[in-house]
């Protein structure tokens, strides 16, 4: 015989029904009309926020699970609906050329516009907002909490901030008005118009470039590579400080050829000064069958990118590895010493190498 509701579950359901349902998808505090969509006939809408361009029927949601068509009007269900909030070192994002050694007030809502098989935050990114515990944190409170916790930045991170675009933009304005900077950690799967608007309000963007083949994006990410590359080019054209993280996964995106093609593309399209982080994969979510990335693979990737002429190539998720440090590309002096998420030595002087005075790009103060 099947398991009936246990007493606790039953009582909870029976006694808190109105309360629980008020906390469900239609809690008015979290619902705001979405931006970047168009009306279609028969109460359908097309979302224009990300390249997926979901066509959504009435009462349905997009692929992200957080934007809903209600009677032919499109709404976000996650404005001010924060499911994760932490004070992190900015190195954890990772940003290595943005205010090293400072703290970043890091927030997320539920949802994501891709479904990466290696997602380390799938329990919040691959769920609907009503399926996780969230708190109400309007933009002014985001700004206040950042200041209260002595954070130099607010990071929109963990899941995919593109899907909580309206909340991110409103928060970024409040945060900037409070004298705190904004940084975004994204997969870069966004259309150009909203990206340009976003860039007016933020200071730095870290893009997770998950591979350099469409095959990987199709099979592992459930997305596309081309729009992500377009995002990187747009960021560069807009002068936005950008860093790239490439999670190296054994057998899936770890060939010399792919590393080389990636490095050449970065150099030619974005320039040699864009930091490129090769980070270590750990088995997660739907990719538990693969081992962690051997450190030698990361060192091979770095060696290839170095040889292709990129100036700032890092090894990540290997605490204590010398590849975490920043070196002067001209005289090879160590400029920033790191161990894991912590800065052990800061030798930059006003954004320059103290030895040869070579300028190091980034946001330093």
């Amino acid at each position: 015989m099947g398991e009936a509701l246990d007493r606790r579950t039953f009582l909870k359901a029976a006694s808190t029904l109105p309360c629980m349902r008020a906390l469900a998808a239609d809690d008015a505090r979290y619902v705001a009309e979405a931006r970047f969509w168009e009306k279609l006939p028969h109460r359908k809408i097309k979302c224009k926020l990300c390249p997926r361009e979901c066509v959504i029927d009435d009462r349905e949601r997009g692929y992200c699970g957080v934007r809903e068509n209600r009677g032919g009007v499109y709404y976000t269900l996650v404005h001010s609906r924060v499911c994760a909030a932490n004070v992190d070192p900015i190195e954890k994002k990772p940003f290595f050329h943005v205010l090293p050694g400072t703290l970043s007030f890091s927030i997320a809502t539920a949802g994501c516009n891709v479904n990466c098989k290696m997602c380390q935050n799938w329990d919040i990114s691959q769920v609907r907002p009503e399926q996780v515990r969230s708190i109400y944190m309007p933009p002014r409170e985001v700004a206040a909490l950042a200041r209260q916790n002595r954070c130099a930045t607010v990071a929109y991170t963990y899941t995919e901030p593109v899907i909580f675009y309206e909340f991110m933009v409103d928060s970024a304005e409040a945060v900037r008005a409070a004298g705190v900077r904004n940084v975004v950690v994204t997969g870069g799967y966004i259309t150009t118009e909203p990206l340009k608007e976003l860039c007016k309000r933020v200071d730095a963007v870290k893009v997770d470039l998950k591979a350099f083949t469409e095959k990987f994006y199709r099979e592992v990410v459930n997305g596309e590579l081309k729009p992500v590359l377009q995002t990187l080019v747009t960021l560069r054209k807009l002068g936005m400080w950008t860093e790239i993280v490439y999670l190296v996964i054994p057998t899936l995106n770890d060939s010399d050829q792919e590393f080389r093609q990636l490095a050449r593309w970065v150099k030619s399209e974005l320039g040699p000064e864009v930091p490129l982080h090769f980070t270590r994969f750990h088995p997660q979510y739907l990719l538990k069958n693969l081992p962690p990335t051997p450190v030698k693979t990361l060192e091979r990737a770095k060696a290839i990118a170095d040889a292709e002429g990129l100036h700032y190539v890092y090894v990540g998720n290997v605490p204590g590895h010398p590849g975490e440090n920043t070196f002067c590309p001209k005289c090879r002096r160590v400029l920033i010493e790191r161990e894991g998420f912590f800065v052990r030595g800061m030798h930059l002087k006003q954004g320059r190498c103290p030895g040869c005075r070579h300028p190091i790009p980034g946001i330093w103060g």
Binding site: T9, F10, L17, A24, R43, R59, G65, V127
Partner: protein, 333 residues
């Protein structure tokens, strides 16, 4: 060259597979002779029951609907009395989940009156009212389709996954990785799948297989590529295959375009029910009914509008059932 002898693992695996198929009650039917003639060997049976005089004064006549359901069940199981048919599906003491489809509100959702009759028949077959759970994704969806949320333990319960919750551990198969609804995994011993007959603007049609999207926490992830292979992969998740014993498709009204939302201009009175153990065969027949109606109205086939439900073929390849029309016995009653 002689075939290689089977290893112990292969033999055991095969035996377990047979047991699983038996337990699932899916795939090929072993329900006796068809009332309408010879049954192809190993065929899946789909009963298409219709009653032109189902409505009186524009609304569904409950007595006629009950008679239609009885006729469909008796024909499918080849028995003389409805209760005998239901006893082939459920056993007293089991908790029975009725997975309805309520996304579209009134007009294109499982009719409450049909569910009410099914609940009566289940009780006649020995299932206690307290052991019946009517469920779908959201309480709001259930209410908008005309159900009343009921959580009391001494009666039939009506609840959404938003109240009952999901498992914490992922279930995976192929492209699918989901948290399953506790209504399926913990509460129900047996599930009767009660989809509706309708078009779907992204994945072509929504019938028996796709109705189980309501048993996972992340259906929004499974619509790309016209739902292929996602619809089939989700149905392969073990608790679904093990517990869904029968599909009764509410085809009182059909919708041949504009789904899954209710679009009255594309809805038509089919006045019927589809009954099958094999969800693939049911979907194949249901798809054909929708295509026939589209053709009758001068609309292009789903293939030509980029919405052919290829996942039905994928489901057949997975071994969930058969989509081969030559191996489906369509029984009209």
């Amino acid at each position: 060259m002689p075939a290689a002898p089977k290893t112990r693992r292969e033999i055991l695996g095969g035996c377990l597979g047979l047991l699983a198929a038996e337990a699932c009650g899916q795939g090929r039917e072993q329900t006796g002779k068809s009332p309408s003639g010879t049954q192809p060997t190993g065929a899946s049976r789909v009963v298409v029951a219709r009653e032109p005089a189902l409505r009186t004064g524009g609304s569904v006549d409950s007595k006629r609907l009950a008679a239609l359901l009885d006729r469909a069940m008796q024909a499918f199981f080849n028995v003389d009395k409805p209760v005998e048919a239901w006893r082939k599906v459920v056993r007293p003491g089991e908790v029975v989940g009725l997975k309805v489809n309520c996304l579209a509100g009134k007009g294109a959702s499982t009719h409450p009156i049909l569910v009410e009759i099914i609940c009566e028949r289940l009780q006649e077959a020995g299932i206690r009212a307290r052991d019946i759970l009517i469920w779908d994704r959201l309480c709001d969806d259930l209410e908008s389709a005309g159900f009343r949320i009921a959580t009391g333990r001494d009666r039939i319960r009506v609840m959404g996954n938003d109240l009952l919750g999901y498992e914490d551990e992922l279930s995976t198969f192929g492209s699918a990785g989901s948290l399953l609804a506790k209504a399926l995994t913990r509460i129900s011993d047996a599930v009767i799948n009660l989809p509706v007959l309708k078009d779907h603007g992204i994945v072509g049609v929504t019938l028996a297989l796709k109705n189980l999207f309501g048993a996972v926490h992340n259906p929004n992830k499974y619509h790309p590529n016209v739902g292929d292979p996602y619809v089939a992969d989700v149905y392969m998740l073990p608790p679904i295959r093990q517990k869904v014993r029968l599909a009764i498709c509410d085809a009182i009204d059909g919708q041949y375009e504009g789904g899954p939302s209710y679009m009255p201009q594309w809805s038509w009175p089919f006045n019927g029910l589809l009954v099958a153990r094999d969800p693939v065969a049911l979907d194949r027949i249901g798809w054909q009914i929708i295509e026939d109606e589209r053709a009758r109205r001068g609309m292009k086939p789903l293939r030509e509008v980029g919405r052919e439900p290829r996942w039905i073929r994928t489901a057949a390849r997975h071994g969930i059932g058969t989509d081969d029309p030559n191996r489906i016995q369509r029984i009209e009653v």
